[in-house]
């Protein structure tokens, strides 16, 4: 029986006034009962429209039917068959613009909570599966061929997981001391617990994926050297370089790139300073410049670290905010103050070189620009000051140049991204593939994963024919 309830069964969440002071996960996940109820809302459409919205091609109605029947482990296995990081995707995918957007139930009411159900199945698996069962999956006979994956982020891990499942010997080279890429250094604990990331990566390792940490490719080894050791290479090094605004005062003490701010907190655990050695400075008033998911993460982190007033400063309006609706909603509930249609002009400091304020100019929306969004235009004479001790710049990242600058034959676009054949993700060097933010510029976890998957399929073809 299909449950014709119009909206999703709500997922329990921590109270906003409690959670904005702790680092525990905000959304608590479905219970078994809630998951079964939500699964019953699925029509199990024959033509599976939702699947067309999934970059990693999860059999969505297939796993939801298993949840409906209470076969949670089977549900997980269906997802894990094509998705290397289900617990991560269930939490951070923008389902509302992917699978859920295409759900038939969304025509009259809310779509099925596909993301929530995916998360449920993955969490259930982690809680209930005993070691031995997973061990049975390992020890498969390895192919004689090996591949190298550069970067243990969403794109790299997906490519690695898929290639290991196809029977290749896979080595992942990661620059940091922890794998996960943006899942580890960027997305905060309260949105994606690091324990979940670790467990999901541990599952890949059980499939035979070997991860080498502290390896900055382009420095310790070049792509050419990797090609000598392995039969093919996948580059998933992400959009690593922070963009700054190029306004006066940006190098004052107290101005962070969102990358630095979040890395200090998430990777280096500065929220536990001095138990952990890495510090981070939080003023009473914190301005976060930008309106994307990274800006929301930075703002909500600053609030949790004790800032009294945290502002999102964004030059366009509410409708143009690029962040997911859910993130904006969560930020508002937690007391983040939105100062929209405001553009920073300069950052001011005291004689000790520390930030004291930010000067903004008010904006209004004009005609639509190339992106289809209404272009923000300065209102003359509307400059105004806001007191601030911390400024976090979250206006985007550009590709990391380390590999480009050490791999001559690798073709890149003028903005630094690696150029690939979009059907195969192959670069200008035969046997070298790339995907994720290093190809597209800063985008989402799931798009990077989709690219990793496409590359794995193409790599498999290439290696079979070699």
């Amino acid at each position: 029986m299909v449950d014709m309830r119009k909206d999703k069964y709500p997922m329990p969440e921590q109270d906003p006034e409690v959670r904005n002071k702790n680092y525990q996960e905000v959304a608590l996940g479905y219970t078994e009962e809630l998951a079964v109820l939500e699964a019953k809302r699925c029509l199990n459409c024959k033509h599976k429209p939702c699947m067309k919205g999934c970059p990693v091609k999860v059999d969505i109605p297939g796993f939801i039917m298993k949840i409906k029947d209470g076969k949670f482990e089977e549900a997980y296995q269906i997802i894990a068959g094509t998705n290397s990081l289900p617990a991560v995707c269930g939490r951070v995918c923008p389902q509302e613009t992917q699978c859920e957007e295409l759900c038939v139930r969304a025509i009259k009411g809310e779509s099925v909570g596909i993301g929530r159900l995916e998360r449920f199945a993955a969490d259930w698996h982690m809680e209930h599966t005993v070691e031995q069962e997973e061990d049975a999956l390992t020890g498969q006979i390895k192919a004689a061929k090996s591949i190298a994956v550069v970067g243990a982020g969403p794109a790299g891990l997906t490519c690695a997981g898929d290639m290991a499942r196809k029977g290749y010997d896979v080595t992942v080279y990661e620059a940091f001391h922890e794998p996960g890429g943006v899942l580890t250094y960027g997305i905060p604990e309260f949105r994606l617990p690091k324990d979940i990331v670790k467990k999901e990566i541990a599952i890949l390792e059980k499939f035979g994926v070997e991860i080498m940490l502290n390896m900055v490719i382009g420095k310790i080894l070049t792509i050419k050297e990797l090609l000598n050791k392995h039969d093919a290479v996948f580059i998933g090094t992400g959009a690593g370089l922070p963009r700054f605004m190029k306004i006066p005062g940006e190098n004052l003490n107290g101005v962070y790139s969102a990358n630095e701010f979040l890395t200090r907190i998430n990777l280096m655990k500065a929220y536990k300073f001095p138990e952990y050695d890495t510090p981070v400075k939080i003023g009473r008033n914190v301005a976060v410049i930008g309106g994307g998911n990274v800006a929301m993460d930075a703002a909500r982190s600053a609030k949790r670290l004790g800032a009294e007033n945290v502002y999102i400063i964004y030059r366009r309006g509410e409708e143009e905010l690029p962040a997911r609706l859910e993130e904006i909603q969560h930020a508002k509930e937690e007391g983040i103050i939105f100062r929209l249609l405001n553009n920073p002009v300069s950052i001011r400091g005291n004689d000790r070189g520390s930030v004291t304020g930010i000067e903004c100019i008010s904006m209004e929306l004009g005609a639509p620009d190339d992106s289809g969004r209404r272009r923000p235009v300065e209102i003359k004479g509307s400059e105004h000051m806001m007191d601030m001790e911390t400024v976090i710049v979250a206006i985007g990242q550009t590709p990391n140049p380390l590999i480009k600058s050490t791999t001559e034959e690798l073709k890149t676009a003028s903005w630094g991204g690696i150029i690939v054949n979009e059907e195969t993700m192959e670069t200008s060097i035969p046997g070298v593939y790339a995907g994720g933010d290093i190809v597209t510029g800063a985008a989402t976890v799931i798009l990077a994963m989709g690219a990793g998957k496409t590359a794995a399929d193409a790599m498999d073809e290439y290696l079979k024919s070699k």
Partner: protein, 275 residues
């Protein structure tokens, strides 16, 4: 884990260690740096590569006991291990094509300046070294420097050894009757600033090494930004070497003090400082 093969105490606050890191040693060049993290709760800190032995697979580091991490590192002995050791990072120094060079080091900077002087000497340049210390007890690498330099000048702030005064005094004096193709200055920001002022007036190309606060060392955090010729550069990927005549040292000095309070707090809690 990366094993500490040997350790030498150069003076009360400067230690030298050989770390087993064969893959890094195979690629390391003068001017590059590594980032290390001692243990799970540790901070990532950059240290310039003070030497390498490709055959033995060893990277040499020299560090001053100034903060929580370096003080902790100073308590480790040969046989102990460091959790994370990443490199070689940054651009290698460009040292080719010089006939006559002056390498200036201040304090711990001498440890970083020494491999550069050695490399210049190897490439056939005539090298003068000016090494400044606060007092005679802090002098390091004197014999090593003696071997590769044309003239070695040691200064101490208190005159307890060598010439009393600053490295800039010697540089000024030398420039009265000689000149250099290049001056390489490595040491406290204030020292590099004054060296650059003198060489700018004399029209001598000057390279300085910026040891900024950084997290990842691969261009990702932007914490190490330095203004060079009015443009923002990242010390980790664009440097650490920069044109000394273009660096905004005043800004760099302010930025270097960013975490002073936290550092002191952390050192006290760690039992490394009294108070």
């Amino acid at each position: 884990m990366f094993k500490i093969v040997s350790k030498r105490v150069l003076n009360e606050s400067v230690h030298m260690m050989d770390i087993e890191a064969p893959m890094i040693a195979a690629k390391a060049k003068a001017g590059q740096f590594i980032i290390l993290r001692i243990d799970e709760v540790g901070e990532r800190i950059p240290l310039t590569i003070a030497g390498y032995d490709r055959e033995k697979g060893i990277i040499k580091i020299i560090f001053q006991l100034v903060g929580k991490t370096t003080m902790h590192l100073g308590t480790l002995e040969a046989g102990d291990a460091i959790k994370d050791f990443v490199g070689p990072l940054g651009r290698a120094s460009e040292l080719e094509g010089y006939k006559k060079a002056c390498v200036i080091g201040g304090g711990l900077g001498v440890a970083i300046a020494y491999p550069q002087a050695k490399e210049l000497h190897k490439l056939g340049a005539e090298v003068d070294i000016i090494a400044g210390f606060r007092n005679k007890d802090l002098i390091i690498l004197e014999d090593e420097m003696e071997q590769i330099s044309e003239n070695l000048y040691i200064t101490t702030d208190d005159g307890s050894n060598g010439v009393k005064g600053f490295v800039t005094d010697i540089l000024k004096k030398n420039l009265e009757n000689t000149t250099y193709d290049v001056v390489i200055a490595i040491g406290p920001l204030i020292m590099m600033k004054f060296v650059a002022q003198i060489t700018k007036a004399a029209g001598i190309k000057t390279i300085v090494s910026m040891n900024s606060v950084m997290v990842d060392g691969t261009g990702m955090c932007g914490g190490c930004r330095v203004t060079v010729g009015g443009e923002t550069k990242f010390a980790c990927v664009d440097g650490p070497d920069f044109d000394g005549h273009l660096v905004d040292f005043d800004e760099a000095m302010v930025r270097s003090l960013q975490y002073k309070e936290e550092e002191e707090h952390s050192c006290k809690l760690g039992g490394y400082l009294n108070g």
